[in-house]
C-alpha cells in the first residue's frame, strides 16, 4: 500500500480490493436466498464508494486553501458526510426490504479493506525482514 504514491491509482486499488472482498458476502447472501441482506450490502457498498470519490475531491480542494480555511472546509464536509451516512442507515432501518446490519457492513467494507491491506503489508514486511536477517 505504502509504495503507491499516486492518489488516483490508490483510489482505484482500494475500490478494486473492496469489491473483490465483497464478492464473498454478496455470493453467500445470494446462495442463502436472503435478498434483503444482498440489497442492504449493495446499498452500503455503493454509497461508501461514492463517498470515497467525494472525499478525494474534497481533499484536493482543501490543499489549495490556507490552513484555517482548509480546517473549516474539511470539518464541514465531514458533517455533510455524516448526515449522508445517517440517511443511508435510517433508510435501511425503516425499509423492511433492506437489511440494516448488511447496509452498515457495506458502509464499513472500505475501511475493513484498508485495515486488512495494512495488516497484510505489515506481515509481509516482518516476514521479509526475518528472511533478510536469516540470509
Amino acid at each position: 500500500m505504502k509504495e503507491i504514491q499516486d492518489p488516483v491509482k490508490m483510489q482505484k486499488e482500494i475500490i478494486k480490493k473492496t469489491y473483490l472482498i465483497s464478492l464473498f458476502p454478496i455470493i453467500s447472501s445470494l446462495i442463502a436466498g436472503s435478498f434483503d441482506v444482498f440489497l442492504g450490502f449493495i446499498f452500503g457498498l455503493i454509497i461508501s464508494t461514492l463517498l470515497l470519490r467525494i472525499k478525494y475531491n474534497n481533499i484536493r480542494r482543501a490543499l489549495d486553501m490556507n490552513m484555517e480555511k482548509a480546517e473549516k472546509f474539511i470539518r464541514n464536509r465531514y458533517f455533510i458526510e455524516y448526515a449522508l451516512y445517517f440517511i443511508v442507515l435510517f433508510t435501511s432501518a425503516r425499509n423492511t426490504r433492506i437489511n440494516f446490519l448488511a447496509a452498515a457492513v457495506g458502509l464499513f467494507m472500505m475501511k475493513f479493506t484498508v485495515v486488512l491491506w495494512s495488516v497484510i503489508d505489515l506481515f509481509k514486511d516482518t516476514f521479509q525482514s526475518k528472511i533478510d536477517e536469516y540470509k
Binding site: D6, P7, I59, I74, F86, A104
Partner: protein
C-alpha cells in the same frame, strides 16, 4: 418493595435508550474535529514541500477513510437503540 407496572418499565427503558442514542451521536463529532486538524497540517505540509502533494493526498485519504468509521459506529448504535427498543 415498590412494584412498577409494565407500562412504566417500558417508558423508562425507552427513555434510557433515547438518551443513550443521543450520547452515542456525540461520538460522531470527534472525527470531524480531527480530520479538520489533519487537513490544516496537510495544507501547511504541501506549502513546504509541493513535490510531495501526491503522497500527502494519499496519506490523508487513507487517514480520513479510517477515522470516519468511528462516526458510523456511533450512528449504527444510535439507530439500533432508537428502532429496536
Amino acid at each position: 418493595m415498590i412494584e412498577f407496572s409494565p407500562e412504566v418499565i417500558r417508558t423508562v427503558i425507552r427513555t434510557a435508550s433515547l438518551i443513550g442514542a443521543g450520547a452515542a451521536l456525540i461520538a460522531g463529532v470527534g472525527p470531524g474535529i480531527g480530520m479538520g486538524y489533519a487537513a490544516g497540517k496537510a495544507t501547511s505540509a504541501v506549502r513546504r514541500q509541493p513535490q510531495a502533494r501526491g503522497a500527502i493526498i494519499t496519506t490523508m485519504l487513507l487517514g480520513q477513510i479510517i477515522s470516519g468509521s468511528t462516526g458510523i459506529y456511533s450512528l449504527v448504535i444510535a439507530i439500533f437503540l432508537v428502532f429496536n427498543t
